[in-house]
């Protein structure tokens, strides 16, 4: 009887999900309520988790709970720590959830709400979650080895080296692009700049407290820190209202870029306990709070989605970034559906803390579903504002003709009515000087979030506070990724440099620390600066470059996963990783080709360089701008070269993997699996592992 109820219950969930998805896809005319998005997403996730992840766990991976996991075999209280599955889910989610699922869907909303929402749901269920789950499983079976080590052992030496280089390249582009998102969020905004700047002394204070006053008392320090951060969000208004202080904190894009570069260098070179770790604590608490508040806000307010399902920009002429739905919607959404970067986490800390193999399903597959849900919420927040306002915030001046009436006329001409006064009023209400041309996703998401929050608490009176809370939340945890990423990048540079000159590889040697920090900061800082001065808005070039590199890393992870499945003798099921891999290779290679060779200067890097060179030759560039234009031409060619090198690296890895697969299948080579030997667990089946002795 219970089984019958269970089956009926799942049929109801599936029918509800299908109905809600149908409403989203087929709805035309009147605005749609956001509740449909939540229902569709949640029902699809439940069904995917119940059926698909169970199938992957049982048939493809055959998880074995009698097998001791790395934390049981190597329990050292430091890296290898038996951890309760709910706690580890929280750890894993906090590690994988970054700005990507918030910014990507917000940018992809230029195609309308439909393509992005469908890819967020389907991409996560069939690709992103599978990647995270399978890589986590593979790493558990190999004592928590990293994706690079697994690529080296299971595919080839060269495969491992390519994966390592790909990670460094992706890290560089990722740090530049998220830096650009922060610059565009803080540009000409004394309130937001003050708030974010103040998080640095707050973090230093917490760092000193946690190091010298109450070592390791993270919870109490974080509570104090969060209270101080909330106070500076409110205090930012006083700064913005004071003409002399507002001048101090009103910075141009270039000034902000240099400030972020200096911050990245400091965070990488200073002791980790002083600045980086306490900022991370603050960010983790505020991130968790903001995400849950946004979900609650959407459910409570149930906003109308004003963006149409499809906009005219599916033809590739979008103002936010150029390119058609295929492949650019998939490239842009990136982390909300599948993120190669997650494979670093799934083969990093998590496998060393997992209690049982079966927990990999909940943690690997489940956490990615939650991340996808964050993406759907970001899509709802972006689409809940009038489309005209969305395009006004996210379009660069060179596309809409500056700001004010001229820009409003351009946007209205696209079929999205907008009056310049609307933008002036909105900027005034959220406490900003202007909201025109603030590409990058963060300001438009903050407007969307502020409108949802203020409809719940405070009304229009608190709109400015909510807006700056949202900006602070986004910028704070973007900078956390930036400083943690810079530090990891520094270690990678030291590791590579140490092969040629031993002392450089020593992580405690100060000249090496300073030099390697300078190298990694210079690498991403160069791309950041280039994005800030790009007249087309750096997002148009950098975000697709980031998306391509991130998805390429996912392809690397899926190549490794497919190879391992093949070696495990699961040939019958390798389509589970092979199909998403083939899809990713198709979209990334198409996007790479278009970004390099497309004849449209807004899409193709080389075409843009050629157009600029033609303008110089025709004498249409003023003399004082010629040097700058030459620099732009060089940058476009550099972007083309980076895209090309990334694509070639992955093609080499795939060819390498294909040759390896052929030799396994044709039995020319003995397939050798590098799993740790089986050791039976000694833990009781009901051991939940919060800590030995607690349960």
């Amino acid at each position: 009887m219970k089984r019958v109820f269970g089956i009926v219950g799942w049929i109801v969930v599936a029918a509800l999900g299908a109905g809600a998805l149908g409403s989203i896809a087929l709805h035309r005319g009147e605005p749609l309520n956001a509740t449909w998005f939540v229902v569709a997403a949640v029902c699809c996730y439940l069904v995917a988790y119940r059926l698909y992840s169970a199938f992957v766990a049982a048939k493809v991976l055959t998880l074995d709970d009698t097998r001791a996991t790395p934390c049981e075999r190597h329990d050292d209280g430091r890296d290898f720590v038996p951890t309760n599955k709910w706690v580890l889910f929280g750890h894993h989610f906090a590690a994988i959830a970054g700005p990507g699922p918030l910014v990507g869907p917000t940018l992809a909303a230029q195609f309308g709400y439909l393509p992005g929402t469908l890819w967020l749901i389907a991409g996560a269920a069939f690709a992103g979650c599978v990647q995270d789950f399978v890589i986590l499983f593979c790493s558990i079976r190999r004592d928590g080895k990293s994706i690079g080590q697994m690529a080296r052992e299971e595919v080839s030496e060269r495969g491992g080296f390519i994966a390592q280089l790909a990670v460094l390249a992706i890290m560089t582009i990722l740090l530049a692009v998220i830096g650009l998102v922060v610059v565009n969020a803080l540009k000409s905004s004394p309130w937001a700049t003050f708030t974010l700047a103040m998080t640095i002394p707050i973090a230093l204070l917490l760092g000193l407290y946690l190091r010298f006053v109450r070592p390791g008392r993270v919870l109490e320090a974080s509570v104090m820190g969060v209270a101080l951060v909330l106070f500076v969000v409110v205090a930012g208004q006083w700064v913005a209202d004071s003409p002399s202080w507002a001048r101090v904190f009103t910075l141009s894009g270039v000034a902000l870029a240099f400030a972020i570069i200096a911050y990245g260098f400091a965070a990488s070179a200073l002791p980790v306990w002083l600045l980086l770790a306490p900022r991370d604590y603050l960010s983790a608490f505020i991130k968790a709070g903001a995400i849950f508040s946004l979900a609650a806000g959407i459910l409570f307010v149930r906003p109308q989605v004003l963006m149409p399902p499809l906009t005219r920009f599916i033809d590739g002429t979008g103002p936010v970034f150029a390119g058609k739905i295929f492949p650019f919607c998939f490239i842009t959404i990136a982390c909300g559906a599948i993120s190669g970067f997650h494979s670093l986490i799934s083969s990093g800390t998590t496998p060393k803390m997992i209690l049982r193999e079966s927990h990999a399903r909940f943690i690997g597959y489940g956490a990615m579903l939650l991340e996808s849900f964050v993406g759907v919420m970001a899509m709802v927040a972006a689409c809940a504002m009038p489309p005209g306002v969305y395009f006004a915030i996210n379009s660069p001046p060179s596309i809409v003709g500056g700001a004010g009436d001229a820009a409003a006329r351009t946007i209205s001409g696209w079929g999205y009515p907008l009056q310049a006064q609307t933008m002036t009023d909105l900027a005034h209400k959220v406490g900003e000087i202007t909201l025109w041309n603030r590409a990058g996703g963060a300001p438009s998401l903050a407007v969307g979030m502020a409108q949802i929050f203020s409809s719940t608490i405070g009304g229009e009176r608190l709109l400015s506070i909510w807006y700056h809370f949202a900006i602070m939340f986004e910028a704070l945890f973007i900078l956390t990724v930036l400083d943690a990423g810079t530090r990891v990048g520094r270690f990678m540079v030291q590791d590579l440099g140490g092969r040629f000159w031993k002392p450089f590889g020593r992580t405690g040697w100060m000249p090496g620390v300073l030099l390697s920090s300078a190298v990694i900061v210079a690498l991403w800082g160069y791309f950041l600066y280039q994005g800030v001065v790009d007249p087309l808005g750096g997002i148009n070039s950098l975000w697709p470059l980031f998306g391509i590199s991130n998805q390429l890393l996912a392809a690397v992870a899926l190549v490794v996963a497919t190879t391992i499945l093949m070696k495990m003798g699961r040939l019958r099921w390798i389509w589970v990783t092979l199909l998403p891999m083939a899809w990713l290779v198709t979209i990334t290679m198409t996007a790479s080709y278009q970004k390099i060779f497309d004849a449209n200067p807004r899409i193709g890097f080389l075409a843009y360089a050629k157009a600029l060179a033609a303008q110089i030759a025709a004498g249409t560039i003023p003399a004082e701008k010629i040097a700058e234009t030459h620099r732009l031409i060089f940058n476009q060619r550099l972007d083309a070269a980076v895209t090309g090198v990334l694509a070639i690296m992955i093609l080499v890895l795939i060819v390498e993997a294909l040759a390896h697969w052929y030799s396994i299948l044709s039995r020319r080579k003995e397939s050798q699996l590098h799993e740790s030997p089986y050791i039976a667990t000694r833990w009781a089946p009901d051991f939940s592992g919060t800590a030995h002795g607690d349960d």
Partner: protein, 66 residues
């Protein structure tokens, strides 16, 4: 009523313990317990030493994502 209060208090205790584990507040206690289970005779680290050592290790590999 009493049963409901008991289960609520148990739930809150679990939540509190989970929160401390999640944010790293309980890391030193966990380390001491693990140290106690091992037969090694070396001196356990002090809370300050453990805190710095743990952070240096955690932030030397990718631990935050995009």
């Amino acid at each position: 009523m009493q049963r409901a209060a008991k289960s609520t208090s148990r739930l809150l205790r679990r939540f509190w313990r989970g929160l401390r584990e999640w944010c790293g507040d309980a890391a030193y206690e966990r380390y001491l317990r693990s140290k106690g289970r091992q037969s090694s005779s070396s001196r356990p680290l002090t809370p300050a030493e453990f805190y710095v050592e743990q952070l240096n290790r955690r932030y030397s590999r990718p631990n935050r994502c995009c």
